[in-house]
Symmetry: C3
């Protein structure tokens, strides 16, 4: 059974062990994701050159794949990265940014899942629906659906690829295809800052790097985001100040903040 205590335990472990998290990610969020990882206590590496993937993944605790600004060369790097990570027993998390909005994105995400080695998928409801085959369209990458729909798609996707699926939204849903957890907290400003979903994926990656249990790591990563969002909101006057306060919150949050601001429930 996961709870707020699971969230705090993993946050604390990330701070204590500073795991290296390797990202092959999109241009839009490289800076904000690296800053979020640093504030959370992790050590980010951003690299995509095939010539160095093996060396860098070997010194990393987890690999983050994010398809937000794809091109054929980067898809090859992601494939190669997933394969190297699998061979070296490193956990991999996939962020299928914009899946459903273009065939390139949907098919790239699916082929990465089919080739194996991905432990966790973190997306929004439209992206997860598109990959699960339970929905057909994405309008940008910021959609918010109700959580029951998200839950069905997450379960379907988790069973199809035997992975953990985390759906962020007003209520986050995390499932391994059997148990389903909801994580509540956060802030409405999160939908108004670019890359908040990508940051969630990276933070889950940091938690995967310090935990054998990818399901727990996905729950605690989403819980960490919820707490940071709640903390940041009270210090913000708009999406600009929120984004800055969010980074501060990742660095400052305490066990008490998690208990106050995050609700983890089994469905």
């Amino acid at each position: 059974m996961f709870s707020a205590a699971t969230v705090w335990d993993n946050i604390d472990k990330v701070r204590g062990s500073a795991p290296v998290v390797h990202s092959i990610t999109n241009y839009v969020v490289m800076n904000s994701t690296a800053n979020a990882l640093l504030s959370a206590g992790a050590s980010p590496i951003m690299a995509h050159a095939k010539e160095e993937l093996e060396e860098l993944i070997k010194i990393s605790g987890a690999l983050v794949l994010n398809i937000g600004t794809l091109s054929p060369e980067w898809i090859e790097s992601m494939r190669m990265g997933a394969s190297i990570a699998a061979a070296n027993y490193k956990p991999v998390i996939l962020d299928p940014v914009g899946a459903g909005a273009s065939m390139l994105r949907t098919e790239t995400a699916r082929s990465l899942l089919e080739e194996g080695g991905i432990s966790v998928v973190r997306g929004n409801a439209s992206e997860i629906m598109a990959l699960a085959g339970t929905g057909t369209s994405t309008r940008g990458v910021d959609s918010c659906h109700d959580s029951s729909e998200a839950e069905k798609s997450a379960l379907a996707l988790a069973r199809k690829y035997r992975c953990v699926v985390a759906v962020s939204g007003c209520t986050d849903v995390v499932t391994d295809g059997e148990a389903v957890y909801t994580v509540r907290g956060g802030s409405e400003y999160m939908a108004l800052v670019t890359g908040m979903g990508c940051i969630a994926t990276a933070i889950c990656g940091a938690h995967m790097a310090i935990s054998e249990d990818s399901f727990a790591a996905a729950v605690s990563g989403m819980g960490c985001m919820a707490a940071a969002g709640g903390l940041a909101e009270v210090a913000s006057n708009g999406p600009g100040t929120f984004a800055v306060q969010f980074i501060d919150a990742l660095h400052k949050m305490t066990e008490n903040d998690i208990n106050r601001l995050v609700e983890v429930r089994v469905v």
Copy 2:
């Protein structure tokens, strides 16, 4: 006749309809531009892969082309994007970053204009002068000239390519080759934050997505920038806090702020 009311009307429409704005833009400003669009109420897509341009442009309300960090592959994507947008009756705005500073930039911007489909060009005075053939040098991308010189170049360029031209500077100038408007407001800090011009272009793109009238959209987009700059300045202690407050301002500005902080005049 455009006025502060035009500015507010379009700001309000963007907030009400959340248009998707697709950008093929430069690496430097992808994050800040996406955040500006989100704060203004639009829904940004950043994508350059030729394999997905058609699908993404079809679900977008406008296309932004920005040549700030060019390479041959991205030029091809921009050409293809402009052509797809034209075929789908989507308005296109071009930001000729650094035109005049290198032949690659000047010629890429010109060839995009010559191939057609671009409704609005938004640049600074040196860039517009370089494209109009009325000036010969750019010193970086931050120059500020007097507005009469900007006006002549803008008129010449607008007539040459039958498009709307918006020149940002101490006083912004916007023309369709016939009427000329000036927009005043903003902040001196805007020249000290990278990508403020690129954000102006993206905001104009959002206004084009919700208006049939590209001339009105360019005026209102520049007016929106002027108001956000004025609002942000009073809450800032330097270019760093200004950039953050600017994003807040895009989200918070009211009709009253537009009336207080922006002056729109026909020349």
Copy 3:
């Protein structure tokens, strides 16, 4: 003899002459580096296309090469950039991000140094050790070593390639292979913000653009960073607010701040 006065003199000259600084740098830090340069009074250009390097380097005062997100095409651009800069007597500074973490990075940095034309190398201790051949591993790019170890490696590297070497850390070390200076100041938050080292390199580049003396420029660039860090820390509540305040500090710092917050010593 360099001192706090050297730091202030060069800061003041950058503000007075607004040198153009051309960067071929990594995706993660393009935005923050451009903002740091603007706040410090310089004029940034970010461009990597081989077609335009010659024109842009000719109008620049210095060239910054940063290998943080390498790919074969970008390595070629960096080589070409270094060669054009040498032919045009423009100073070049290299940031060997992640040297030691992968062969690609170590070898790219070394081959750039061997091909000549690089006046200053700015890295952290692990990177400098890797290039000097005095260390074997890097854990990410955020390591902090003690300054005596950094000093030995810096001296070895400076002598090997007849360049100035600046090592950032708790105490910065700058040497031309003969004299050794330490620069103290800054903030512990600097290790928690991505690209602070890259910003240091860019600021040193701006100082090189306005000084004939690359050794003085490297000392003053590091001193400028130390002052901005010290100023920003007192206005911050975490790494997010620190990054914003740091940009403000670059713009606002006074001679008195340098004297209060920076200690420059010859070893």
